[in-house]
Symmetry: C2
Subunit: 497 residues, 2 copies
């Protein structure tokens, strides 16, 4: 009987007869909390609905509704003739029970829907790179991680771990580790002709984050962005995620056809370009096009987002400086990545941002992700400033150059009836234009069935009408894979003809 008066006291103390919430709900909530917080123990006998209704001055129906609800939820048990008891399960077990129900509760889950922009994200073509595919012919866009000086990297990491102090455990450094930023600024100056202050360098976790930040800081939702057509579809993600409107502009042998922008776009606020080696055509944007694009940006108060994922990989003459290096008006956001020059799992890249916008990027980063891990930043800083980075770039450039020549020779010797290599001087793959109106997509399918990894330029076209071509990656393909790959492809091509 002590229990009965405790329950009555608890309820009479808590009920708001004039409250907004229905009384039966109030009784439910008070009892449920008392059970879960173990103020009412398992097995406790509750007062009868009749006496409780009288004590609380509410209708008996109200109390019965509350009890029924709690019995349905598993908190109470009603034993015919013996009154009502707190269920034997402990709170955790009830929670677990609730959870188990969730897993089958498809109906409730189905009601919960993504937002429009959320479900649009799920519509973006998304190719999961499987690392195991990278060494297969003719996978594209992967660094050859077997050539990475892993032992040097491990030694530098180990040294930095030994030197790791508690002062490195805090929040400092939203824009990145300052010596790394300085090392990148120095590298950009000597290697790419970009002269910028260390303060303009912002460390990010890769190109995608750079695209995403630039779009969110410089553009409104719904703003029009000019992109190259054909284009790396996956790269759209950044723009799509920030809900910009994409206007594809054709490319010709000089890169993005700037004079077509006014015809094909309405009011573009930015152009997203890959001038060093356009993906997937491999075309290097000519100098006058670069100036033309800069003039367009200044005249139209628009931005140039320069995604330079590959300017380290050039095999002919000295490459043209990045558009950033020619920018007079603070119009260019330059995105660099270490995924291609080092290795993808490093998750480090950088932005070069006009000086007056650094603060906006700092805040956006603080509000969305903060800086990447310091240990890798410090180690990369050492790797660059102690000369390992420059040496590694020179080494892989030579290796890629040799593989490229070897692949050109193999293709020209074996596939000359079917494809014509378009010689670009930069990038990570070759473009082989298909003769006799062969269909790239069909070949890609047939190749996949034979375990060959192919891609066709038509897969990357949005509106562009250009001759179809196959893409031949050569950077991460083991050399021994090339000849069998070409031979297998020849069989496929012969069958298609």
């Amino acid at each position: 009987m002590k229990n009965h008066s405790a329950v009555i006291l608890l309820l009479s103390k808590s009920l708001e007869l004039e409250g907004q919430k229905p009384l039966y709900r109030q009784i439910c909530d008070v009892l449920r909390e008392a059970i879960l917080s173990r103020r009412l123990r398992a097995g406790t006998n509750l007062p009868s609905t009749r006496s409780l209704a009288r004590e609380l001055s509410v209708s008996r129906n109200t109390v019965m509704s509350a009890f029924d609800q709690l019995i349905a939820e598993g908190y109470l048990k009603g034993a015919q003739g013996n009154g009502t008891f707190v269920a034997d399960e402990l709170p955790d077990e009830i929670l677990r029970f609730r959870f188990k129900k969730v897993l089958d509760n498809r109906q409730a889950h189905a009601k919960a829907k993504l937002s429009k922009r959320g479900s649009e994200i799920t519509q973006i073509p998304f190719r999961v790179e499987r690392d195991s595919d990278n060494t297969r012919a003719f996978s594209i866009g992967f660094a050859d991680i077997t050539e990475f000086p892993l032992e040097v990297w491990k030694r530098l990491l180990a040294r930095n771990i030994r030197n790791m102090s508690r002062s490195m455990l805090g929040y400092d450094g939203v824009l990145g580790y300052p010596p790394l930023r300085a090392a990148i600024a120095a590298y950009l100056k000597t290697s790419k002709g970009i002269e910028c202050e260390t303060s303009q360098i912002i460390i990010i976790s890769g190109s995608q984050q750079g695209l995403d930040l630039a779009a969110r800081i410089l553009l409104e939702e719904g703003d029009e962005v000019v992109i190259e057509d054909p284009n790396l579809t996956g790269k759209h993600g950044g723009a799509f995620a920030t809900k910009t409107k994409i206007s594809p502009i054709p490319i010709d042998e000089n890169g993005l056809n700037v004079s077509e922008i006014s015809r094909l776009a309405t009011n573009p606020r930015a152009a997203l370009i890959t001038p060093a080696s356009q993906f997937p055509t491999g075309i290097t944007m000519s100098l006058s096009r670069r100036f033309e694009l800069l003039e367009w940006a200044e005249a139209n108060n628009a931005w140039i987002i320069e995604d330079d994922y590959s300017s380290e990989f050039h095999y002919g003459s000295r490459p043209i400086s990045p558009v950033q290096a020619m920018d007079l008006g603070g119009r260019v956001i330059y995105i660099g990545t270490f995924s291609k020059t080092m290795f993808p799992a490093l998750r480090l890249g950088y932005l070069v941002v006009p000086p007056n916008f650094v603060d906006a990027f700092r805040r956006a980063i603080a509000f969305t992700s903060r800086q990447p891990s310091f240990l890798e930043q410090i180690t990369l800083s050492d790797f660059i400033s102690e000369g390992f980075f420059g040496r590694h770039i020179r080494k892989i450039r030579a290796i890629y150059s040799e593989r490229r020549s070897c692949l050109i020779e193999l293709i020209e010797r074996n596939l000359v009836d079917f494809v014509e290599i378009k010689k670009s001087e930069a990038g990570m793959h070759l473009v082989g234009e298909l003769r006799n109106e062969l269909c790239g997509r069909k070949l890609v399918e047939s190749a996949a069935q034979k375990g060959l990894f192919l891609s066709a330029i038509s897969e990357y076209c949005i509106n562009a009408k250009i001759p179809d071509a196959l893409l031949f990656g050569f950077t991460s393909i083991i050399k021994n894979e090339m000849a069998p790959g070409v031979a297998a492809l020849r069989e496929i091509l012969e069958c298609s003809n």
Copy 2:
């Protein structure tokens, strides 16, 4: 004269007399590119405007305009009587010259403006945490990194570096390192009563990224989000960056006042809550409020974003399970961080996401940042599964508990005339309600002048009218700092009275 014919050939080959671009611009662009690509060397003598005009069948004015433009840009030099020459500067020097101009070219830069949402980001209050401030009385919200078992961490890191293989250098693992995800799932089950599948755990780089991702996937731009009032202003960043509309809802002694949502918000799509220990009031959301909020979310097809930054730090009874653990309808996105339990520079946190939304999060992460560094993920996985994490939590919880008691005693002994400690059982700071209508903000200012780090609850209020209070951090403050801090504060309080 050989030069002359080369120039004429170059131009006549390139000019499109019927083209869209004005002829003088075409001439400019061709010559500029020829100079920059060194096809026209420094000092080269150009044909006269008259002969060039004749050869190209254009007006002399057209050629003169082009030459004037290039002279103005520094590519050509006109020597009276001697004709026109390519300037002596090398292309790099011209680029450098262009760049130097940029730095002074405030006018051009001033034209380039952030987007509306970009400039809104710059308006968000943003407190830069300086790590050096963390040990000062009464800094709040920082883990005590001096207690972190750095040697263990370094040993595990070093071991993982030794074992690091090339298979760990690739792109795999957008959702995080699978064993870390499994270790977190196991930890959540035993420590927080959350039962979820490993597949629901997503590794992120900290709470802010979790907030940002959730807002972008589950909400539209402009959607209304309910937040607790008072609130950690900095946390708004995530929501602001994704342009949601914030509706502050008051809290009472049971946490967010759910019944006020319908009165104060129009059509909220989500509620952002800190139920374990509301920041900054320290109030733990009661069980019935948690259920009430879940019911609200289900009835209104809305989301609950549960930011659990501190449920590890409880000093009294066993804490209430997270709202996630009570969620039947797949309505809760749970955000956990290791910044408070490990150290901030680790940049690791996690989400628990309803199973049907994992794919959308995977894509959003792939399109915006990809996974954090693997080395730290692997090492954290070891740290958790080898028992170091649990041990560290127990250790710092005991340390924090002792510091908390010590600080309560100091304040109650010395400041009883001015503040009244509101005893919450969780969190990383104490709340001392001010007596005699003392003004928190004024005290914060006076304290800052004396080198004391104080914050007042009124600094975090949006519309809330609650008694002002001072916040006393105790987690990262060195114990020896406490008594002098309290003494200094007593002086300040005596002067203000």
